[in-house]
Amino acid sequence: MDTVSQLQRQFVEYTASLYREGYLDDQFTQLQKLQDESNPDFVVEVVSLFFEDSEKLLNNLTTALHQENIDYKQVDAHVHQFKGSSSSIGAQRVKDMCVVFRNYCDEKNLDGCVVCLQQAKNEYILVRNKLEALFNLEQQILQAGGSVPMMV
């Protein structure tokens, strides 16, 4: 019983910090609200799709920015996709980075784009690690026989 409440408290505090520090926004809460008994792994499934999608997009962006003649429209299309999917799961800092990135694409500013790509990668890795830690905590709670607190 003690372990469960400890883990639950950890979970609540960790989640609150993710929102406070801007890693996640309300859209992540919306996703959690969609989850129910008919689909108890919904959030993990969607976030996993996001991880796969993001890794592809980051590779495509790296390739696109290494071309001799850079097609900024193509780069922008990838960033637009990345912005969309990060927005859909509530990965706020990644989304915000994409907004800046698109501005550099509009200006055809290669240096700006290269810096943004690196920062977008960093933000993505950060949020991925944090979400994995969060899901890990959830698993620990469930395995200890407790239930995962609903964040209102």
């Binding site: 969607v46 912005k83 927005s87």
Partner: protein, 175 residues
């Protein structure tokens, strides 16, 4: 028809939406993440959902493609609502909207356009082309609840069947 019997008919309809009578929504989006989220949003609102990753695929499912075998609109349950992303490679959501509204068989199907970008000229263009609504992404459960007003059920219903903030139209008006 007096107002009491039309409200009874609606109350009965709202309680008895069986499996086969669930509205059938076609979700069109090139993003896998967004397709999965929208599918859940609509199934949570008691809809049946089919997804398509392109406008071309959507048209095939609506019976407008070259391959009639993928036509679920004639062989299977009718599609009551199309929800399409605006920005898609190849055929955009706007192109798809146009094709739906130009076709004699499917122009009655309401089309909702969704987009992550708030561009007034884009919104105007879609509404003028016949989109029922234009909604900003990411969609929330509350947005989807409102959309049920636009879905024509498989059984014809007298008057308008709306939930949420819309009021019911009474067929006894204007006599």
């Amino acid at each position: 028809m007096d107002s009491s019997s039309s409200s009874v008919a609606v109350a009965v309809a709202m309680n008895e939406v069986k499996e086969e009578e669930r509205p059938h929504v076609l979700v069109v989006d090139d993003s896998l993440v967004d397709r999965k989220i929208m599918e859940k949003l609509f199934t949570n609102s008691a809809c049946k959902v089919t997804t398509a990753d392109s406008g071309k695929k959507a048209l095939e499912l609506l019976g407008q493609g070259e391959d009639k075998h993928t036509d679920i609109n004639h062989q299977g349950p009718k599609i009551n609502l199309v929800v399409t992303d605006y920005c898609m490679p190849g055929m955009t959501g706007y192109d798809l909207l146009k094709k739906v509204k130009e076709s004699s068989d499917i122009k009655e199907i309401p089309v909702i356009v969704v987009s992550s970008e708030n561009v007034p000229t884009r919104i105007k263009k879609c509404l003028e082309e016949g989109a029922q609504e234009f909604i900003l992404k990411p969609l929330k459960q509350a947005d989807v609840k409102k959309l049920r007003c636009h879905m024509q059920f498989t059984k014809p219903m007298k008057g308008r069947l709306c939930m949420g903030r819309y009021t019911m139209k009474r067929t006894s008006d204007n006599k």
